[in-house]
């Protein structure tokens, strides 16, 4: 695997940083890869723009900052507007499609959308949004094994909430797998 630059963007309170941490944990602790994580957030806990920058590689990472994301995952329109111009022109864009509307999609960019908020609400709690997105990320990008993700999710959430969070992960993962299979049929 070459070095992959990932950026996750959203609003404070959506669990952007936790999503980044889970992806990084899955890659490093449970899939023996190298990863770096840099988090950026506003002064407020809720509502302000925030992002996580991740680099995943089979080799040691010498520079931890994301300059041209190969994968951009966004959960707010503001994050899309801010980070989309930076994207690799052949990159992968993952969006929460009820919160983000994509305009002027560049021809080389592969777009995948999921109504993660609605899927999270089906589980009874909107706060699973980020874990549904992590499941979606796992299925679409296939960078790290699903089992590594499951372990990282279980390891990162409060004791007693593991099962529900894993259900959220599986929802996003199943949706992503279905979407990839359908895309493969079309192309």
């Amino acid at each position: 695997m070459k070095t992959v630059e990932i950026k996750i963007g959203g609003l404070g309170g959506q669990g952007v940083i936790l999503a980044g941490m889970i992806i990084g944990k899955a890659a490093t602790i449970y899939d023996n890869k190298h990863a770096t994580l840099i988090q950026s957030f506003g002064p407020e806990a809720r509502g302000s723009a925030c992002s996580a920058q991740l680099i995943i590689s089979d080799n040691k990472i010498l520079y931890p900052y994301v300059t041209k994301p190969d994968i951009l995952m966004v959960m707010s329109q503001e994050a899309f507007t801010k980070f989309y111009p930076e994207m690799n022109e052949n990159g992968t864009l993952l969006i929460e499609d009820e919160l983000v509307k994509v305009n002027n999609l560049k021809p080389g960019i592969k777009l995948y959308g999921i109504s993660a908020t609605r899927l999270a609400e089906e589980l009874g709690r909107r706060l699973f949004l980020n874990i549904v997105m992590v499941g979606f990320f796992a299925a679409v990008t296939n960078l790290v094994s699903a089992d590594a993700f499951r372990k990282a999710v279980a390891d990162s959430v409060p004791k007693g909430t593991e099962s529900m969070n894993l259900q959220a992960f599986e929802k996003g993962y199943a949706y992503g797998q279905k979407l990839i299979a359908e895309t493969a049929k079309v192309t």
């Binding site: 952007v16 925030c50 009874g124 959430v157 007693g160 969070n165």
Partner: protein
């Protein structure tokens, strides 16, 4: 209505299959009338040491018969774990539908000696905690005697904390008095912790 639908969705997942630490394949499903004889055998086969601390003398057929007659998953949701047609674990969660403790539920769990420390108790208890969360329960209580240190550790693993110890409050099946340990899993607190974890200002990296 939505709550009922959610519970219906929850029940649909059974039976579920799982693999224990020793590679034993188990099937987990809610206790049904047809499981009576099998469950009775499970309790009768328990070692005396394990039976000593049970709340009721479950080796008596009339006790199990009463469970069957009163079977209502809204009041008590019992799960059993089977392997090769033999029950090896039983756990249940008890709800108070009315009164001042209707936000509480009580969790009980028994696992056959040969299958203890293999993750079965944790698996059963996690399922029931999940069920309680679906029902909107705020606190789950577990009661045990002070000498049941293994059980206390198992409950701690799934988020229970010791809340109280009442001296000489219970007696085992031989009549010997023990301190009663009350452990609580504050499920509402769990979701508060989850919300805190989603606050994107700083994150505590664990593990």
């Amino acid at each position: 209505m939505r709550k009922l639908q959610k519970l219906h969705n929850f029940m649909r997942k059974y039976p579920i299959k799982a693999c224990l630490k020793n590679n034993t394949e188990v099937t987990i499903h809610p206790f049904e009338k047809a499981d009576k004889e099998n469950l009775l055998k499970f309790f009768r086969d328990l070692s005396e040491d394990d039976r000593l601390f049970l709340k009721e003398d479950v080796t008596k057929e009339e006790i199990i018969q009463r469970w069957i007659e009163e079977l209502d998953y809204e009041k008590v949701f019992p799960l059993i774990a089977e392997t090769k047609g033999k029950i090896i674990g039983n756990a249940s969660i008890h709800f108070n539908k009315i009164g001042w403790s209707k936000h509480l539920a009580e969790l009980r769990c028994v696992v056959a000696r040969d299958f203890q420390k293999m993750g079965l108790g944790t698996l059963l208890m996690r399922e029931l905690v999940l069920y309680a969360q679906e029902k909107g329960i705020e606190k789950i209580v577990a009661q045990m005697m002070d000498t049941q240190t293994g059980a206390q550790k198992a409950f701690q693993r799934i988020g229970f904390k010791k809340e109280a110890e009442l001296t000489g409050f219970v007696s085992d099946l031989t009549g010997k008095k023990h301190n009663l340990i009350i452990m609580v899993n504050d499920v509402s607190e769990l979701w508060k912790k989850m919300e805190d974890l989603l606050m994107d200002y700083d994150i505590k990296i664990t593990g």
